[in-house]
Symmetry: C2
Subunit: 338 residues, 2 copies
């Protein structure tokens, strides 16, 4: 069997199986969240410790010659910060691994570093070290540590994918689809309009929702994930982990207004399947979500509900509660294109 | 200027410069060891937190078709454990990033995971998560966290590259050159002898010196580095960081006995410039080193001295104290071959 037959999520499940028996009782006891959430979490001395890693590969995650190096640096750190935000944590220190071909311009790498430093300053992260190796193409991989609080029982207090309950409402920060629209424009050179510039910025300079993640925990919410692979796919991960289904009302999805040049169908597709918006999906009871909305500066929109459903799917419904089929459900970087 | 003109160490210096001003006072204050040592170290609550990352790229760090996948998994984790050993710390949790081409065999990846799990069990590390992405070649990158103690002033108690003093002696654990000899044999198919198998195992299954690192701290030693790029190159990093020179006596270098089939000159070259032995270089006063030797199960050999020298070089001397020129000083994966 080939990796392309399994896809990224199939491989992760296999990894989890092989590793299930490992670690020893002492470490396994300290590990509160392992494979299968946005970040790993374990108990440190008097705090929860959080770690995550995310990798950008040239021509898979960014376009050579079209993604400015400084923006690439920003994004490589920001997507990891978003994983910490999705746990409700605070990021601290980053290790940066660069795979470079030896004929790359050193000035380009300086720009990459500047983008990393800018994002570090914006999100309170210090770059503490890393590794630079030779390889056939450019790859930027960041490992990021962070911390959170322990609850009154000494357990890490974090947002989990598996914490949704039947009857919870599903809410999302900000607007969706902009990053995916921006990627199209970056490929097609855009038209220089204000909307086009806004969309490209959404793609190149994600703004992780650190405040929203922490405020969600403070409001009593315990379930969250970031929108990295596409709304329906990421909500599907919550469904799978929580063993529930989810319904999303098409008319409630906050489609990025800068997508107004697209027809409504296409804009919706960007918003529900496009990925890389790095907004937060938060799932909790309606009163908690209401309380959180009042506490946030960023918009928070209720888009659907968690329901009992045996296939653990997230489905999109029209105004007649009829399911809408959305072609190609988000990103899976290893699976062959259908 | 191209990356190949700067080399890995030149790029790291540039990165350090660009990042020098970043981070904000709160984080910079917590960061005890940043770029330029084996691992990053910061103050957590009541403990020192340590993190490192190391990456293996196909056909740069391992040979496609000749490195068994299970050994690759072991090595990917073990080289990171060695960085924690070189700080005198204890490893805890690993994040594993795999870059895979989509036509890779899924069974091969299972073997890789098994090797990671074996090393995890051997060194007390739990695999806590990671990332799997598509790319043009196979790359395994591990980020590893660990911990150490704080001293009586609340500062991390770790081995540093910059802590050598004039008059200190230089000692090394185990034997050197075996990994480099094993790589040659792996390329050349070996001769199946016991020595050949031992050398190949040294290359494929490094055994980081965790106990030696911690025992060195307990003996009062404060300076160390692991032998990853080659004895003289790694000792050169200690010289540069400590602003001293070092002399190593050729006749004292513990050359791996399994290299006996090579002529003495070639075996010496493997031992002082070969790299990947993952032994520890420890630098301290003679009495501390003596005390440490008595406490260790693994051999510890005094091979030289730290001296005042303005070029901050590590040099190899013959029995007449004449410098021996060693061609090609260890690994620098980005610099073009001379």
């Amino acid at each position: 069997m080939k990796v392309s037959d399994l896809g990224e999520f199939g491989l992760i499940d296999r990894l989890a199986e092989v590793l299930a028996a490992q670690g020893g009782p002492e470490l396994s006891g300290r590990l509160a969240v392992g494979i299968g959430d946005d970040a790993a979490v374990w108990r440190g001395e008097n705090e929860a410790l959080i770690a995550t890693t995310d990798t950008l590969v040239q021509d898979v995650h960014f376009l050579a010659g079209r993604t400015p190096w400084r923006d690439l640096g920003w994004k490589a750190l920001a997507v990891n910060v978003s994983d910490i935000a999705a746990m409700g944590g605070t990021p601290d220190f980053a290790l940066v691994t660069l795979v470079l071909s030896s004929d790359e311009d050193a000035e380009a790498i300086d720009e990459l570093y500047r983008g990393l430093a800018e994002a570090g300053e914006a999100f309170g992260v210090a770059i503490a070290g890393g590794d630079i190796v030779h390889g056939p193409t450019t790859i930027v991989s960041v490992a990021l540590t962070g911390h959170g609080e322990l609850d009154e029982h000494g357990e890490p207090l974090v947002l989990r994918r598996n914490a949704a309950r039947d009857g919870d409402v599903v809410a999302v920060t900000g607007a969706l689809g902009g990053a995916s629209g921006g990627l199209r424009l970056l490929r097609a050179d855009g038209d220089g309009s204000e909307d086009a510039r806004a969309l490209i910025a959404r793609h190149l300079r994600p703004q992780p929702r650190l405040e929203a993640g922490r405020a969600a925990l403070a409001a009593g919410i315990r379930c969250g994930i970031d929108v990295s692979d596409g709304l329906l796919q990421d909500l599907g991960q919550v469904c799978k982990a929580s063993r529930l289904g989810a319904t999303v009302w098409r008319d409630k999805v906050p489609v990025d207004p800068a997508l107004r040049a697209l027809d409504a169908q296409e804009a919706l597709r960007c918003a529900v399947a496009g990925g890389e918006d790095y907004e937060l999906l938060l799932v909790g009871d309606a009163a908690q979500i209401e309380q959180l909305r009042d506490a946030l500066d960023v918009p928070l929109t209720v888009i659907g509900d968690m329901v009992i459903e045996t296939e653990h799917r997230a489905v999109l419904l029209d105004e007649h509660a009829k399911e809408i089929d959305v072609p190609s459900g988000g990103w899976d970087h290893l699976r062959s294109e259908a």
